[in-house]
């Protein structure tokens, strides 16, 4: 296969979309082509870095704050999650 085609397949290689035989073939071709090898290696590393990103944590505080925002907008929302402690008991100041 020619180099031009391999260059076009780098995006698929980086996203793990190539069949195993074709991926092996590209790795062999990259052994003799430093530019192709660099393109393959760095693009896949970028995809890996992105896909391994755990993202922001959805904390209990965020979960409850979103519920509070919905209650405040008049939504009668029922969840299985326990209510936060400060909402479980009526404090004197709340009347």
């Amino acid at each position: 296969m020619n180099r031009e085609l391999y260059t076009k397949l780098v995006d698929l290689y980086a996203g793990y979309e190539l069949p195993a035989e074709l991926e092996d073939e590209m790795i062999v071709a990259a052994g003799n082509d430093p530019a192709l090898a660099s393109d393959m290696l760095t693009l896949r590393a970028a995809v890996d870095a992105l896909q391994n990103d755990q993202g922001p944590s959805f904390t209990e505080e965020s979960f409850q704050r979103i519920l509070m925002k919905l209650y405040a907008r008049g939504v009668d929302l029922h969840t299985k999650a326990p209510s936060p402690t400060h909402l479980q008991y009526q404090l004197p100041i709340q009347g």
Partner: protein, 172 residues
């Protein structure tokens, strides 16, 4: 199965239905909104507003329609509105990682690089690479064709790699 049950209940006006749907999708919508908007406070507002709209528009739901696609589309529109309202330049402030310093630095850099990308590139990366949504569903959410989605995805990955630059070399 739980989703279908809650959607059926929502159509009947059961107040527990929205809570059930929030428990299934709340975290994903919050993460998506956080990545789009870049901070927790705006992400919480957008998530609450998304579920409020689900309730208000529940009559638009059809039994055969893909609820998740519809839900992400609502969240996306709200995030875009919010981004238009005020230009958000604040970086996510609660990035943390248990790995090495290099990986922690890379994670922060990934978030920075992602937030620096044009929306046309950023959105396919968030949906396909971060939220693990199929190309077909992501294309439906963005209301573009699958080839257009793939083109933006591939260009976005290359743009992200260019922005990561040196940080990427440290972990290779």
């Amino acid at each position: 199965m739980a989703e279908k049950r809650w959607l059926h209940a929502l159509a009947k006006g059961d107040p527990a239905a929205l809570g059930g749907l929030y428990e299934i999708y709340g975290e994903r919508i919050f993460r998506y909104a956080f990545r789009m908007l870049g901070n927790r406070s705006d992400a919480e507002d957008a998530t609450a507003e998304t579920f409020l709209r689900v309730l208000r528009r529940s009559n638009e739901l059809r039994a055969d329609a893909a609820f998740r696609t519809w839900l992400f589309r609502i969240a996306r529109n709200l995030c875009i509105d919010r981004m238009r309202q005020h230009r958000l330049l604040e970086l996510p402030n609660d990035a943390h990682d248990n790995g090495t310093e290099e990986r922690t630095a890379l994670k922060i850099t990934v978030q920075q690089a992602l937030s620096d990308l044009p929306a046309d590139y950023r959105e396919p990366l968030i949906l396909c690479d971060l939220e693990d949504i199929s190309a077909k569903e992501a294309a439906d959410i963005l209301k573009i064709s699958v080839p257009a989605l793939k083109s933006r995805l591939y260009r976005g990955r290359r743009a992200l790699r260019d922005k990561l630059g040196g940080a990427l070399e440290k972990v290779l």
